[in-house]
């Protein structure tokens, strides 16, 4: 704790939701008939440094949104320490420096884009002229300058996401926290948002965002943490995480059935179908043996490519190490 350039510091952060029978506690589904405790976040540590784009990656229900909500003061943690800019996250001065986009943002649907941004600006105590100037800047940035006169109830999911992004950038925050910002956007919208996120970093801001869309994180993040079942499974820069230990060789094969390949390489390789071909992915050290076996089986090797492990591979590997974090309490 206490690093000079650390923007978010989290230590031993934990959240346990408790409930009775049919009560819904937290974002996780609870079966009937039991008194339950759900450990949504199981004691995590995180450090996000100034100027980073930090990707918080995990499958649905992994604990991403609960962690973010604890940082944003929406949920009280059961245990642990959180600091943003070295101070408590619930301090007014700290919050004034944060822009936040909730997951699937919901807005006052009786308002128009300019009205909702103006309302948010008032909560940041921005003077009227500054609010108007900033709104004039943001509406074109998120592509909503032509929808200013529509009420938000007429907006599509993607348009609501865009107004949410404008809301998150309204106060020119030093830290931008985005919960699943790319969901609900079409490919062009996603590209535009990725550009906006990178532009925030170029302005010296820190961006912390969660996603389960690996390609987006891989494209723009400086650092990644993978969370699953409330536990951080991996953390580091992409270069650190996708290191040379996990170099793989991709062998494209024709003339041997998938069943035979799966049977023969069950323990050492992944086998995938690509049309009439099969793709065999093996560790670098096993490639010579694999090629020999394929030739012995009468197969034709159509191509051999050495490749680095992808974030998807790392994610799958991390998720495979998962342990249950949901349990019963009492009897």
């Amino acid at each position: 704790m206490g690093e000079v350039d650390a923007v978010i510091e989290v230590e031993g952060l934990r959240k346990v939701f408790r409930g009775f029978k049919s009560l819904k506690v937290g974002p996780l589904p609870i079966p009937w008939g039991q008194r339950l405790r759900v450990e949504a976040v199981a004691g995590i540590d995180l450090t996000v440094r100034r100027g980073e784009i930090y990707g918080f990656l995990g499958p649905n229900g992994a604990g991403k949104t609960t962690t973010i909500k604890m940082l944003m003061g929406l949920i009280r943690p059961s245990a642990g320490v959180m600091r943003i800019f070295g101070g408590a996250p619930d301090e007014i001065e700290t919050r004034a420096r944060i822009g936040y986009l909730p997951e699937q943002p919901y807005f006052y649907d009786y308002l128009r884009p300019r009205e909702i941004l103006d309302f948010f600006g008032k909560l940041f105590l921005m003077p009227r002229a500054a609010r108007e100037a900033r709104i004039d800047e943001l509406l074109p940035l998120v592509g909503l300058e032509d929808s200013q006169n529509k009420k938000l109830r007429e907006f599509s999911k993607g348009m609501l996401q865009r107004i949410g992004i404008a809301g998150a950038l309204l106060n020119e925050p030093d830290l931008v926290v985005l919960d699943e910002p790319l969901s609900g956007l079409d490919p062009i919208g996603r590209k535009e948002l990725r550009d906006i996120i990178v532009a925030q970093r170029d302005l010296g801001r820190t961006v912390f965002f969660s996603s389960h869309i690996l390609s987006d994180i891989e494209m723009i993040c400086d650092k990644v943490a993978i969370i699953d079942h409330g536990v951080i499974r991996a953390v580091g820069t992409l270069a650190e995480l996708l290191d040379s230990e996990h170099l793989e060789v991709e062998i494209i094969v024709r003339g041997v059935s998938q069943e035979i390949l799966r049977d023969r390489f069950a323990s050492v390789a992944r086998v995938e179908r690509i049309g009439e071909y099969s793709r065999l992915i093996v560790g670098e050290g096993q490639s010579n043996d694999a090629l020999r076996v394929i030739l012995e089986l009468g197969g034709h090797v159509e191509g051999v490519v050495r490749r680095r492990e992808s974030l998807e591979d790392l994610f799958v590997r991390s998720a495979e190490r998962r342990g249950p974090a949901v349990g019963e309490e009492g009897a």
């Binding site: 939701f17 506690v25 937290g26 974002p27 609960t66 909500k69 944003m72 003061g73 929406l74 949920i75 009280r76 007014i92 001065e93 919050r95 004034a96 944060i98 936040y100 909730p102 699937q104 943002p105 919901y106 807005f107 006052y108 009786y110 308002l111 009205e115 309302f119 948010f120 008032k122 909560l123 940041f124 105590l125 949410g164 809301g167 926290v177």
Partner: protein, 273 residues
């Protein structure tokens, strides 16, 4: 130090005003509110018909009585409906997710909702009062300052019931909030009877002494809403003294402060999942 503190309160006031303004906007753009306002107006207009059917010489009395009844009824109804819906809607529709992470204190969110609702009720009571006074003037009924004082008392009752509804809505769902707040309103209107029964030499609490603590608790906790009924004084042409208005305001405010403090405490502890 003092200066810094006064600055903090000014900032709180600005944020509460922004939140209240948004609550006000939400209500006036809500069809239920507009519908209730039209219904209240129609109710008042109906008093004209009733007054024309009244026994000779009693027409103005019917107009007065029905006017007080309508303004009070619709004020309390709107207070309970808005109190039950507005805060809950904020949580249910998840718009609260965009508010709490902003540089606002949770108590400011509660106060913003409350003052927003009061602003709506000022409009409601104001519009209906002007309409009603216009009807009285048209029918040639005397428009006295006592009527204004009685309307102020009705508004104090609505201010209190709004705080009751907000307090219940900070932990329960709208239907339950509506039932509980309506219950407080009804019991509050007759709580003086419970007080009289407790001092009586016979009756329920003498026949069933086990119920006595319950009766005493009701009298202590539930506000006596009869305090805010000035209609009889107007009808009987008894003046409503300024000192009475001050003490009624103090009575209302003491309840409002306790109810708002409870609402803040309950809201402060909530997780927004």
């Amino acid at each position: 130090m003092k200066r810094r503190r006064s600055g903090a309160w000014r900032f709180t006031a600005l944020r509460v005003a922004a939140l209240a303004g948004n609550t006000f906007k939400e209500a006036v753009r809500n069809r239920a509110f507009i519908g209730l306002m039209f219904l209240a107006g129609a109710f008042l207009a109906f008093s004209l018909v009733l007054s024309s059917l009244a026994v000779t010489g009693q027409g103005n009395r019917v107009l007065l009585d029905f006017g007080f009844f309508s303004i009070s009824l619709f004020g309390v109804l709107i207070a309970i409906v808005m109190g039950a819906i507005l805060l809950h809607k904020e949580i249910d529709k998840k718009t609260i997710f965009t508010i709490i992470p902003k540089p606002v204190h949770r108590f400011e969110v509660v106060l913003g909702k409350y003052f927003g609702m009061l602003a709506i009720l000022i409009v409601e009571v104001g519009v209906l009062s002007v309409l009603w006074l216009g009807l009285l003037w048209l029918k040639g009924a005397p428009v006295t300052p006592e009527i204004g004082k009685a309307l102020l008392l009705i508004f104090l009752e609505i201010v209190l019931i709004t705080a009751v509804a907000l307090m219940f809505s900070s932990f329960s769902r709208p239907v339950l909030t509506g039932i509980l707040a309506t219950g407080v309103f009804i019991v509050g209107r007759v709580v003086y009877l419970v007080g009289e029964m407790l001092t009586a030499r016979g009756g329920l609490f003498v026949d069933h002494p086990g119920l006595r603590p319950f009766g005493e608790a009701v009298v202590r906790v539930v506000p006596d809403l009869r305090v805010f009924d000035g209609s009889q004084e107007v009808l009987l042409e008894i003046p409503i003294r300024g000192s009475y208005l001050v003490s009624a305001t103090g009575y209302c405010m003491s309840y409002v402060l306790v109810l708002l403090a409870l609402s803040v405490l309950l809201f402060q502890r909530r997780d927004f999942t």
